[in-house]
């Protein structure tokens, strides 16, 4: 093959530009940390990155919903637990007042004390979260679910919340009842509070039979609260278990994304160094090639 001046020019130009392309590409990947910047560099990889990104964001949204529902259910559980403790206290006092030896004055004083506990119970039932939503109102979260009619010692408690629940997705494809209603906590018509209110009325009226009846009803309502508390606990545990699915999936997606998106920096640095060495070699070869000519010898 004839080696002409034009051929040497082309060789030098092609070799150096080819190596510089490799250098530029490696430098770009090292600085960005990503294998590809545009979809055309690897369409399949690009599609996978976008898909993983979408799934990760979806898991993050689902996780936010889970956190919110968990927070609500936990607060409700705490409330019910306090309510249970309060009812236990009320029962002790009621038992003490159920004997013949207690005076009307003592019963009156106890009625006032139990009224305090009832106020606390109602406060718990009408409790709001940080954003102002009422916890035990079902989906009627904007309004306090329990209202009191009348004054001490004769009060009536009415439930004005909702019996309707709201479903929220807390794991991929898993929707749960995200709200707590008064019925799920304190009886279908607020029987827990009404029983305590009836006890107060009975103590204030010094009515032995009514006190006895209220004590029996109180036992039933305490059991209602305990059962509802246990049910809430079960819901929270089930929620936590589904969240592990979300967490696991999120990690899997993040690993998959990193696998296809992130560059192997070590490999790219090696590629860069190799290309740099090649460029130096080409430059030296070019220098020698262009300096050797018959013109140097023929005079």
């Amino acid at each position: 093959m004839r080696v002409t001046n034009a051929l040497i020019q082309k060789f030098v130009s092609t070799s150096t530009s080819g190596i510089k392309e490799v250098l530029f590409d490696a430098a770009k990947k090292i600085s960005s940390g990503r294998v590809i910047d545009t979809p055309s560099e690897d369409p399949i990889r690009a599609a996978k990155i976008v898909r993983m990104d979408r799934l990760i964001k979806q898991m993050e949204t689902i996780d936010k919903s889970y956190q919110r529902v968990r927070s609500d259910l936990s607060a409700a559980e705490q409330g019910l637990s306090h309510a249970s403790q309060s009812l236990t206290e009320i029962k002790s006092m009621a038992i003490a007042m159920a004997t013949d030896t207690v005076s009307a004055t003592d019963r009156d004083a106890t009625a006032q004390t139990i009224q305090g506990f009832l106020d606390q119970l109602l406060n718990t039932a009408n409790r709001q979260q940080e954003d102002g939503r009422h916890l035990f109102a079902g989906i009627a979260e904007g309004k306090a679910p329990y209202s009191v009619v009348g004054a001490f010692p004769a009060t009536t408690v009415a439930y004005e919340g909702s019996t309707v629940s709201r479903e929220v997705e807390v794991a991929p494809g898993v929707k749960v009842d995200a709200t707590v209603t008064g019925a799920q906590s304190f009886g279908a018509n607020g029987e827990v509070f009404q029983t305590v209110a009836d006890l107060i009325t009975a103590l204030d009226a010094n009515n032995d039979a009514a006190i006895e009846a209220s004590l029996n009803a109180l036992d039933t309502q305490m059991e209602t609260v305990v059962v509802n508390l246990a049910s809430l606990g079960t819901r929270i545990r089930a929620l936590d278990e589904t969240n592990t699915i979300t967490e696991d999936l999120k990690i899997q997606y993040m690993l998959s994304k990193a696998d296809v998106e992130e560059v192997d920096v070590t490999a790219e640095i090696t590629r860069y160094t190799t290309a740099e060495t090649s460029l130096q070699a080409v430059v030296e070869v070019t220098r020698r090639l262009m300096s050797n000519s018959l013109a140097s010898f023929l005079r």
Binding site: A6, P43, A46, A47, E169
Partner: protein, 539 residues
């Protein structure tokens, strides 16, 4: 037996031949780095009359038409892929979601905002987020459409640019044909002009696929666009690019309100009165294509005749690549984006109007309705077009929909209809329960990934396909450029190996010519001595 004069003649022919060789070698060395220069050689042959010396014929240029033709074809292929790659690279930036910003990302964000709202339907922050992500999604729809639109505008401009370059080069070839014919007739060397013309032809072949037909008088005819004449002897045609049909970004020139000025299809200008009729030319075709014509143009720039429009697939070269990207790849993508916007508005509004906001209001729109692009006449006087313009070819109803995508006026976060509007099942207390219901917002969130919107596929899948198509076609174009470039380099190397100047060779040639010159000079010196001897003998 040759006489002394004849021997002198022989010596003189030797001197002349060596001088010619030296001149040609010098010319070659001087042009060693001239692009496209083909080295020249002198052909030494014994003189026509036997025994009378040597004749130096030439100069003759060393060319390889076979390799040159292969190179031209390869450059044409590279130009085609380059044309496609140039346009598609512009578009790819518009649809690139890899940096976390883009239409698909904004669709996902909108859906996720709806999901977050479903967990707290009365939450003002969540409602505000829905509005915010909806605005971002609208902005992305417009950005994508604008990106496609700009790529098409730029592509059209570039195609015209390339067409102008083709015209210029065709003109150069025609002019060189004339010069070559003239110089050949007057016996002058035409090799340099042929080299120049070959170089121009190579440049032309990268712009458009051509067939070069050499003629006996050293001129060439050039055909392009599937056998259509481009250069005929000393004449050439002008190449023009024109759109056929309204571009997706063009106003169609209809006047809807009768004020004498053309309005655009979806500018929302109300009709003045019932029966307002569109005035002006209806669009000739619902499709948009760039076409190329070869035209004969007189000195005043007026077209005197034109060949029929040439389909893009007959063109080849960079011009063919640009047209292919526009006509085949881009115009249906922009149409798909419009369809996505149009159908999203219809289906989303259907759900939203059936829902209830926290004020208990229903029948609220979320997006501003996008009218069917074909509707141009208001027959019932309500200010809204309800019939197509007479005689107009129908566009897709979603033409330019992505441009018109907007939230409905006055939409505030409390008007987002997250709740169901079905008092029978179950009956919700509007005062207390509606605000906490999330039935409708769950349906709206599911709609974004439902196949209802795009008749069997989802919005994300539809756009994912657009991105994939563009990515794959860009990749194919890049690979095409790379492959053809490699082939072109190989062929170019073959060509320069054969036709370019090697200074070393020319140095040897100069040295040999010098020696031959000295030797021929010695013949003359010896003949001169012989003549003197003869004269002394007879004198």
């Amino acid at each position: 037996m040759p006489s002394i004069n004849e021997i002198l003649s022989i010596g003189r022919s030797g001197l002349g031949a060596s001088r010619t060789r030296l001149a040609i070698a010098s010319f070659n060395i001087a042009n060693a780095n001239t692009p496209g220069y083909s080295r020249q050689v002198a052909d030494l042959v014994p003189s026509a009359t036997p025994g009378t010396g040597v004749d130096a014929l030439g100069p003759r240029a060393i060319r390889n038409q076979f390799v040159a033709r292969s190179l031209a074809t390869t450059l044409g292929n590279r130009g085609f892929y380059q044309g496609r790659a140039t346009t598609l690279a512009l578009v790819q930036e518009t649809v690139n979601d890899l940096d976390g910003v883009g239409l698909v990302t904004s669709l996902d964000n909108f859906q996720n905002a709806l999901r977050e709202l479903s967990a707290n339907p009365a939450g003002s922050a969540e409602r505000q987020q829905v509005l915010g992500t909806a605005e971002q999604m609208i902005a992305q729809f417009k950005a994508v459409r604008h990106g496609f639109q700009e790529a098409m505008e730029v592509g059209e401009g570039q195609a015209q640019n390339v067409a102008n370059q083709i015209t210029l080069r065709a003109r150069q070839v025609a002019k060189l044909n004339g010069q070559i014919q003239h110089m050949a007739q007057s016996g002058e060397s035409i090799e340099a002009l042929i080299d120049t013309r070959d170089q121009v032809v190579l440049e032309l072949s990268e712009l458009i696929e051509i067939d070069v037909i050499p003629q006996n008088d050293n001129s060439v005819l050039i055909y392009a666009g599937g056998g259509r004449p481009l250069v005929t002897d000393t004449d050439s045609l002008v190449v023009k690019v024109s759109p056929l049909g309204p571009a997706p970004y063009d106003d169609v020139g209809l006047d809807f309100d009768g004020d004498g000025d053309p309005d655009s299809n979806n500018d929302g200008i109300p009709f003045n009165e019932p029966g307002d009729v569109a005035v002006g030319a209806a669009p000739a075709t619902a499709g948009y294509q760039l076409t190329v014509t070869f035209e004969r143009v007189n000195e005043d720039g007026v077209t005197t005749s034109a060949l029929a429009p040439i389909p893009g697939h007959d063109l080849g070269g960079e011009l063919g690549g640009l047209l292919d990207a526009q006509n085949v790849t881009l115009s249906d993508k922009i149409d798909t984006v419009d369809e996505m916007a149009y159908r999203l508005v219809i289906e989303f509004n259907k759900l939203h109007t059936a829902g209830t906001d926290i004020n208990g209001q229903t029948q609220n729109l979320f997006f501003k309705p996008i009218p069917d692009a074909n509707l141009a006449i208001d027959t019932d006087g309500d200010g809204i077009a309800d019939q197509p313009a007479p005689g107009a070819d129908l566009l897709n109803p979603w033409a330019r929909a992505a441009e018109s995508l907007e939230l409905v006026d006055g939409l505030t976060f409390d008007k987002i209809a997250a709740a169901q509007d079905d008092p029978q099942n179950p009956a919700l207390d509007p005062a207390t329960e509606l605000a906490g219901d999330n039935t409708k917002v769950l349906e709206m969130a599911d709609l974004i990934t439902s196949t209802i919107v795009m008749n069997g596929t989802t919005l994300q899948a539809t756009f994912d396909k657009i991105v994939q198509d563009i990515a794959q076609e860009t990749q194919a174009a890049d690979i095409g450029v790379f492959t053809e470039d490699a082939s072109a380099t190989q062929l170019s190397n073959l060509l320069v190996a054969e036709t370019a100047v090697s200074i070393d060779e020319e140095m040897i040639e100069m040295t040999l010519a010098n020696q031959a010159f000295e030797a021929a000079g010695m013949i003359i010196r010896n003949v001169d001595e012989m003549a003197e001897t003869l004269l002394r003998l007879v004198g």
